[in-house]
Amino acid sequence: MKTVKILGPGCANCRKLEAVAREAATSAGIEAEFVKVTDMKAIMAYELLSTPGLVVDEKLVSSGRIPTQAEIRQWITA
């Protein structure tokens, strides 16, 4: 079971990222728990300079952009 965290204060890109990540998980057939992190202090605990950030199993895989479904599938199946 993977844990996927979406880091972001609730801006449009964060919602979009969550939607893309959920679709990627479904299409890859992987069960994942999705956690939205909106608290700024918790977000800044990761090494990023702009949101939205994507964290897979406590590892920051992307920040400041929306990755494609293919990219996310790779990260969560790795």
């Binding site: 972001g8 204060p9 801006c11 449009a12 890109n13 964060c14 979009k16 893309v20 700024m40 202090k41 977000i43 800044m44 090494e47 990023l48 300079l49 702009s50 949101t51 939205p52 400041g64 952009r65 929306i66 494609t68 479904q69």
Partner: protein, 481 residues
């Protein structure tokens, strides 16, 4: 009931006037530029100058550049602010970045210029830059102990290097060319190169109907809706429908609707740059130098955009569309509300409160800015309303500096990152400096000798440099002690 209709009419009239040609020629390219900045400028190309060991003369300008180029939206402002403060160059540059971002970004600049005039936009830009660096330095001096305690941490976050590619540079520059070609009020852009009359006999009657629907009073600075305006509004509605289908999932690839939406956007810009005049025998269409320049600049955008890789141009279109969704809707509602409120405010109130450029008027303007919170860019039509109602341009600038910086929301956000004492100091400094900026610009408008203004600003910069020297000595002394 009559009053209600009157108010609704004020709102609709204001909205229609804001969707007129000159505003669209500025806003549409500005949204695409903002999108390109967010998607095509690698953040590391600027953040590499914001690390802990960067000298002051580099980190402060870099912080201002980051505010101008990277921080078009709150997704970047808060994390970058917290990052610079905690893990990078420290409190001073972080404050400079935070202060300059709302005034220095392309959307705010272009929009201020098109609504309130280029001179005003320029003054806002220069004074915000100068005072943004000033406030940053002052904060760094006031809380110099604080940064010293952060020095032990690493700054790997800022070590990454990147530079902007040639295709992206080409796209950005040609988009700026579209913006300039569309907005500059200069010959040969304003010259008519030729005209044809389309056989549309209903054009004049349609114009009369439009003026009847949205009555306007030119003496109060109101604009009516022209035939051209109604055509542009129709085009905008079409773009809204097609863009929703074409751009919502652009990250996964383009579809037929994407190209229709982009084609319509280009068509809107060309129509806005033409000059349409209804006559008795039909609609006269004048080809202006502006229309030609806009078409050429758009061709340049297309040429460079074709060299971008798929991820880059999809990202660019997505960011541009996201800005439109996030800002344009609120802007439309805001402009409507401003039009309604304007009918309720007596010009005498504004003239008594802020009709002159004195300390009192500037302080009132700043106070209003602190307690009011308007969504991004809506502060500009609000300022336009005050200007029409007789507010002096000095206090107006003071208001425009304070409003986007100091809303309750932004103060809470800053407090969460740097704590209450520093936030209070920051709010106080912004208030003082906004009043100062209003007084300086107001004096300029009133025709005070520019030499005196230059001497005053030079003394200000000199004072800052002296303070910085003092701070550096203190830090060195503490480090040795």
């Amino acid at each position: 009931m009559d009053t209600f209709l009157h108010l609704m009419n004020g709102g609709a009239g204001n909205l229609a006037a804001y969707l007129a040609a000159h505003v669209l020629l500025c806003l549409l390219p500005a949204f695409f530029i903002a999108g390109a900045m967010a998607a095509l400028i690698p953040k590391a190309s600027i953040t590499r100058w914001l690390g802990r060991n960067t000298p002051y003369r580099v980190s402060y300008p870099a912080a201002a550049a980051a505010g101008s180029l990277l921080a078009v939206c709150s997704c970047t402002i808060v994390p970058l602010f917290a990052g610079i403060y905690k893990k990078g160059a420290g409190l001073g540059p972080a404050i400079t970045f935070l202060f300059f971002a709302p005034a220095g970004n392309i959307l705010a600049l272009a929009y201020t210029g098109s609504i309130l005039g280029a001179e005003f936009a320029f003054a806002r830009f220069v004074l915000c830059l100068l005072f943004g660096i000033g406030i940053g330095l002052l904060m760094a001096v006031l809380f110099w102990r604080d940064d010293a305690s952060h020095d032990a941490q690493t700054d790997t976050l800022f070590a990454e290097q990147a530079s902007i590619g040639p295709a992206a540079t080409g796209v950005l520059l040609s988009l700026v060319a579209v913006l300039i070609a569309g907005t500059l009020k200069l010959w040969p852009l304003t010259a008519a190169l030729g005209a044809i009359t389309l056989p549309l006999p209903w054009a004049e009657a349609w114009q009369a109907t439009l003026f009847q629907w949205v009555p306007f009073d030119a003496a109060k600075g109101e604009e009516g809706v022209s035939v051209q305006g109604s055509l542009l509004i129709a085009l905008l509605l079409l773009i809204a429908v097609t863009a929703w289908k074409g751009l919502e999932n652009i990250v996964e690839g383009a579809n037929r609707w994407t190209w229709i939406a982009l084609g319509l956007t280009a068509a809107t810009l060309v129509v806005a740059a033409l000059r349409l005049t209804p006559r008795a025998d039909g609609l006269e269409v004048a080809l202006t130098g502006r229309a030609l320049a806009v078409v050429l600049a758009m061709a340049a955008v297309l040429h460079h955009a074709r060299r971008l890789d798929a991820d880059a141009w999809r990202g660019w279109l997505w960011e541009a569309w996201r800005f439109v969704k996030q800002i344009f809707v609120l802007l439309v509602v805001g402009v409507f509300v401003v039009g309604v409120v304007r009918q309720l405010i007596q010009p005498e109130w504004i003239q008594t409160l802020a009709g002159r450029n004195d300390l009192m008027a500037n302080a009132v303007a700043v106070l209003f800015g602190v307690f009011m919170y308007f969504p991004t860019l809506v502060e500009v039509p609000v300022a336009h309303m005050f200007l029409d109602l007789g507010m002096h341009r000095g206090p107006l600038l003071a208001y425009l500096m304070a409003d986007p910086e100091l809303s309750l929301q932004s103060i809470l956000m800053v407090a969460a990152v740097i704590g209450r004492p520093k936030t209070s100091a920051y709010v106080g400094l912004v208030a003082v400096f906004s009043i100062l900026a209003g007084l300086v610009y107001g004096a300029w408008v009133d025709g005070v000798n520019p030499v005196w203004i230059a001497v005053g600003l030079a003394a200000f910069v000199g004072g800052l440099v002296a303070m910085l020297g003092w701070m550096l000595r203190r830090r060195v002394a503490t480090a040795h002690a």
